[in-house]
Symmetry: C2
Subunit: 372 residues, 2 copies
């Protein structure tokens, strides 16, 4: 059964003083007011509300808070891809024909914690062995980045262009965490997080929430393809650090389901928790040959005016990365673009693709949406 996207909503991302419940209310208020659909069930994506917010039983909590009892409600977690995980899980429920209209929510609240504690919680997604030997998210992403830069002759200046583009796009996105233009020099002067990665290469710790309504009733946007794949958690066990198998698998499955190929995609949102990941993702999805992603960006192919704009929203890097919200925020950006509602960052697009990464690329999901 075909599945379509109805109303969408998003809270402002950033350092928010509100509770996660309040952010989710902000993200769902307009969609719930504007939809003509009768909601049958609720799917909530979240990585770790237990430790970030000292909460449990989150599906009931949110359903109660939104005054939506007695609707059925699930919480879905695929780590940092939970926003996409919840979208896929909710999609399956509508495709089953058992639910006609479901409310999909993603959210995370993190900035109230001291950064070292937040980073400790974030790094729990890694393997025990790599954590034991001092691995954390940015340390391992640093290794991946170094491997990629060496293998494909990418300079530190080149890599900086990813963040420059993201910040430039985010300037045009009122929901973005950062609204500040940056230069290559700003990136190069920023503090080293884990060499060669610097502060401006890393997505921030953010708060935010998103929602949308999936429906079996036809709308202007169809969910055309989904792909989902896991991978060894330890990067030590992977065959090549310069590609991500979970992305390659997820992308292939999504294209097969949509009966499309990379050349059919007009716009993409790619999980850039670190700048390198945007480049690697753009290759692993098949948009550019391996090793050519950086050149494509340098040539402007992925800019707002390019042939395949990537991360028009500002990406995780500049729109922000509230884990459970990010995967859904990517899809909502595609929806806004396909509906010509992206204002100053509007591009021309009929078919869009999103890639969301769970953990350090151990649970990835690809999603293709198209105008219809």
């Amino acid at each position: 059964m075909a599945v379509y996207i109805d109303e969408v909503g998003m809270s402002k991302f950033g350092k928010r003083t509100e509770s996660l419940q309040e952010l989710i209310f902000e993200a769902t208020k307009e969609p719930l007011k504007n939809t003509k659909k009768k909601i049958d069930a609720i799917f909530i994506g979240n990585q770790n509300v237990e430790e970030f917010c000292d909460e449990s039983n989150f599906s009931s909590q949110i359903t109660d808070y939104l005054n939506l009892t007695p609707l059925p409600s699930f919480r879905i977690d695929t780590a940092s891809s939970s926003g996409a995980g919840v979208f896929h899980s909710a999609f399956l429920s509508v495709a089953s024909g058992i639910y006609k209209n479901v409310l999909v929510i993603g959210g995370e609240k993190m900035t109230h914690l001291q950064t070292p504690l937040a980073i400790r919680i974030l790094s729990k997604v890694l393997s025990e062995e790599e954590k034991f030997f001092g691995g954390n998210m940015s340390a391992l992403a640093g290794l991946i980045t170094r491997a990629y830069m060496e293998k494909f002759n990418v300079s530190r200046e080149d890599l900086s262009l990813v963040a420059v583009k993201s910040h430039s796009n985010a300037m045009k996105n009122p929901y973005a965490h950062f609204q500040k233009e940056i230069s290559i020099e700003d990136v190069l002067k920023s503090k080293v997080v884990s060499s060669p990665l610097r502060v401006y290469d890393c997505s921030p710790i953010s708060d935010g929430a998103c929602s949308l309504i999936l429906t079996s009733g036809k709308t202007d946007i169809e969910v055309a393809g989904l792909g989902h794949s896991t991978e060894f958690i330890s990067i030590t066990h992977r065959d090549d650090l310069t590609k991500m198998n979970a992305t390659i698998n997820a992308g292939k499955k999504a294209f097969a389901m949509a009966k499309l190929s990379p050349k059919d995609i007009n716009i993409a949102e790619i999980h850039d928790a670190f700048t390198t990941f945007e480049i690697i993702g753009s290759e692993d999805l098949g948009f550019f040959k391996k090793g050519q992603g950086m050149n494509a960006l340098k040539e402007g192919k992925t800019s707002l005016s390019g042939e395949l704009p990537i991360n028009t929203s500002g990406g995780l890097k500049a729109r922000g990365h509230p884990l459970g919200a990010s995967g859904l925020a990517q899809i909502i950006e595609l929806v806004w673009q396909l509906r010509n509602q992206a204002e100053k960052r509007q591009v021309k697009a009929k078919i869009g693709m999103a890639l969301s990464i769970g953990g350090l690329a151990s649970n990835n999901l690809a999603t293709i949406v198209r105008s219809c």
Copy 2:
């Protein structure tokens, strides 16, 4: 699309020294060895691995540990009904036709924590206001129990019969946490947890894991009906403490989907985190009139030889209650009974029903399975 149950598996429940990963391996080993189905995706039910086990990214972790990458993998959480939540969520994925065969897992590891800490984590599922005023799970269950006993003239001796029956059944279940016969006197002499509830009225803190394979290919057992409902988290906001609206709603939906009524059910597993809950659940599902559940038990109607055996497994009370596993364990007990594999506790049954409660009855799921 019809959905069927293929292989099932369970770890021994109890105070286990193994890790949750090892318990899940124990529960999945035989089903994965015996099945002829090619697994397409994995659904893992768990309430709070973050705080009980200091883990995160659990879907990838388990998929990797079981050597099942690159299969898609989700973690599902509906609090203490997560074992049923994951079953329903996985059901929807097979009903969609997108996945043909999925591995459904539920598990929790809790006994390694000191009891006060485990109880603190468990009580986080309650509402902020009730926790603030000193509510914890057993305190609120105590209020519910007192209300029920007063309204329906149930004596403390009568209530003890629930635990006596559960322990007696568990004696015949090699997977049960407790394998010890108890008497009414044992219950009455046991320590008060929260008056009128005593130790033997409360399900234990347990470790354990379960798994089964759901498939679109016909087997001997069909999933006939599902129902799912949330409810206000604060029991203060509920209209009547002697019934649970989320159970009533979930039950009605499951019966409607299965086109069956309570009289068609031959065996039931009812979430008895506290003894009172078995009685209340047996009424809310429509097996007995409100206020008659205790009499039905006293008359032996819910015993192994009765017209509607309830909790033949020993229930949460005596089989144990490893949160994310419990809902799935109930369904597996029904499967064993329907397949005539329940050995010394075997009853005659073609249609079975399970009720799983999330939190303090804020996210409940009912499931009907039948021989075919």
